[in-house]
Symmetry: C2
C-alpha cells in the first residue's frame, strides 16, 4: 500500500526578513518548519513570528519551532538560507548539523557565486541550490517582518550529487514547495544566468539607495537618478551577455517599469548600511565586475558605484 | 614730465572666500580696493576683513572700503568677481555700475564658459577675463576667511575690444597685480584650455566631497576613492583632448600628487552643499559633458557623478 508522500521537513537558517517571510508562509501551508535564530531567539520563542503583509494581511505564527542551536534541530530535508552572503562560510557548521542525508540547501540570496565559499565546506552528498527572491520585504523588529509587495522565487541547481534529470526533479520539488504555500515560483535551468538577471535590478537599486539615501520612489521620480538606473542596468545586461548569458529583449525595461509600480522600497543594502552591517559588495558588485572584465567587458558606471560603496562601507564599519 | 603709473582701482564683486582673500592681499600690497558686500556688509563695515592664512599668518584689513550698493563704488579699472557662477547673469547691473570705461572684469571662478551668460549683458567696451584659482580657502564666518594653502591664479583673456597684442598686455597687467601682492600668477594664452585643465581637479574632488561627505584627505587615503579620482581625471583629460586642447603629459598625476600634499580640504562645492546653496553643476559638469559629447567623447563616470549630484542638489534645495 502506497502512503501519501510525506511532506519534507524544512529548516530556516537565518530568520531575517527573507527567512522569516518564506518560513512563515511555508509553515502556514502545513509544512513542518524549524527556525534557527540568534539574537532574536528569545523574542520569537516568546512572541512568535509576525508577518505584516500588504497582499496577504497580518500573518502570525505562534508557537514557532525556534532553535538557538542547530544541534537541537531535527534532520531537515530542505534548508532555506536567508542569511547575508557575507556570512556564508560561517554557516557551514549549522547547515551540517541541521541537514538530513542528501538534504537540499537553498541559498535565498542575491549576487554572483554566493554558493562557492559554502560549497567547499559541505559534503558532496548535499545538494546546493540558489534562489532569487523578487520581493519587497524587510525586518521591522525582532520577529516582525514587513512584506510590501511581490514574492516570487526563481530556483536553480548549483551543485551536488544529482544527475541531470534528478537536478530537474529537485528544482521542481523546490518550486513546488513555494507554490503550495501560495508563492509564485519557477525553475531556472541556468542558475548563473538567473543570478546575472537578478543583478540587473540589484546593482542599480541596492547601491543607489545607499549612495543617495533614497528609496525606489524618489529614485524613479527624479530624471537624473532614473537615467542612472537605466545606464547601470544597460551595463549589467552587457556584462551578462559578455559572460555568455541570455538576457531577454526588453528585460531591463521590464524591471524598470515593475519598479515604477512598486511601493517605496528600501533595498536590503540600505538596511544593512543603516544598521552598520557590512554591505554585500563582494557578491553584488565585485564578482560581477571581475567576471565581466575577464570576459572583456568594462562596466565603468558599475565600477564607480562599487568604489563609492566600498568607501562608504569602510567608513560605516 | 612723466608721472609714476597710477595704481589701478580694484573692485571686488562678491566678497566670499575668494574675493575676500585676494582683495585683502591686494589692499595690503597698497592697491585701492573696494569691496561690494551683501549679507556681510554690516559685519565687515564694523569689524573689517580677517584672513587667517596658514602661509601668511593672521591678516586684518580694517577699515575696509565696503559697499552694500555698487552705485556708491568709485569707477574701478579692475573688477574681480568671486561670486558663484550660478549668479553670474544677476551680477551684470552691479558690474556695469562699478566699472570704469574700458574696465577689465576678471571672473575668479571654476568651470567652463562661465563668462558667456555675463558677456551678453556687458557692453563691448568692457574686457572680460577668466582666472583659475589654485587655492585652499573657505569662508569661516562673516568677514572671516581661512586660507589653508596655495594661492596661484592663472589668468586668460575671454572677450572684449582688445586686439591680440593688447590682450596680452591686459593679461600681463592682471598677472602683475597678483604678483605685486605676493601671489603666484601666470598668463594663459588659451583661457578655454586653462578652464579644462582646472576641471581635471574640480570634477573629481568637488563632486566626490559632496557625494561621499569627505575632504581631500580621506578621499586620497582610501584606495577606492583614490582610484575613482584617477579614473575621473583620466576622463576629463580625454574630454579636453577631444575638444582640441593640450593637456601636458603627467598633468593629472601632478594634480593628484599635489593634492596628496595638501591639508585636509573641503572644496567649495561641499560648503555650498552644507549651506544649502545651489551647486555649481552647470559650469563644472553639464557644460564640459556637453562639450565633450559634441566632440564625440563620452565621460561615463563624470556623467554618473553629475547625475548623482543633480539628485542631491534637488533634494538639498
Amino acid at each position: 500500500m502506497m502512503g501519501a508522500v510525506a511532506k519534507p521537513t524544512i529548516g530556516i537558517i537565518g530568520t531575517g526578513a527573507i527567512g522569516g517571510f518564506y518560513g512563515v508562509m511555508l509553515a502556514r501551508a502545513g509544512f513542518d518548519v524549524h527556525f534557527l535564530l540568534r539574537s532574536e531567539f528569545c523574542a520569537v520563542a516568546e512572541n512568535g513570528l509576525q508577518v505584516n503583509s500588504a497582499p496577504h494581511g497580518s500573518l502570525t505564527l505562534n508557537p514557532v519551532q525556534a532553535y538557538s542551536n542547530a544541534q537541537d534541530m531535527p534532520p531537515c530535508d530542505w534548508l532555506l538560507v536567508g542569511a547575508k552572503t557575507t556570512s556564508n562560510a560561517d554557516l557551514a557548521p549549522a547547515i551540517l548539523r541541521a541537514a538530513a542525508p542528501n538534504a537540499k540547501v537553498l541559498l535565498l540570496q542575491n549576487g554572483l557565486d554566493v554558493e562557492d565559499s559554502l560549497r567547499e565546506l559541505l559534503p558532496d552528498s548535499l545538494h546546493l541550490l540558489g534562489g532569487l527572491c523578487y520581493i519587497c520585504v524587510h525586518r521591522e523588529g525582532p520577529g516582525v517582518v514587513t512584506h510590501q509587495a511581490l514574492g516570487a522565487v526563481h530556483v536553480g541547481y548549483h551543485s551536488g550529487p544529482a544527475d541531470e534529470s534528478t537536478r530537474t526533479a529537485i528544482v521542481e520539488e523546490g518550486v513546488g514547495l513555494f507554490r503550495s504555500a501560495g508563492i509564485d515560483s519557477q525553475a531556472m535551468a541556468n542558475l548563473h544566468q538567473a543570478r546575472w538577471q537578478k543583478l540587473v535590478w540589484n546593482i542599480p537599486y541596492n547601491g543607489l539607495s545607499v549612495l543617495l539615501g533614497a528609496s525606489t520612489t524618489p529614485l524613479m521620480a527624479d530624471a537624473d537618478s532614473g537615467e542612472m538606473v537605466k545606464a547601470l542596468m544597460a551595463e549589467v545586461v552587457q556584462g551578462a551577455i559578455a559572460c555568455g548569458h541570455d538576457v531577454p529583449p526588453g528585460y531591463a525595461e521590464h524591471l524598470f517599469m515593475m519598479t515604477e509600480k512598486m511601493p517605496a522600497y528600501w533595498p536590503s543594502m540600505y538596511h544593512d548600511f543603516l544598521h552598520k552591517r557590512p554591505l554585500e559588495l563582494q557578491a553584488i558588485y565585485a564578482r560581477p565586475l571581475a567576471a565581466a572584465k575577464a570576459a572583456g567587458c568594462e562596466m565603468p558606471r558599475v565600477e564607480a558605484l562599487y568604489r563609492s560603496l566600498r568607501f562608504i562601507d569602510r567608513r560605516n564599519a
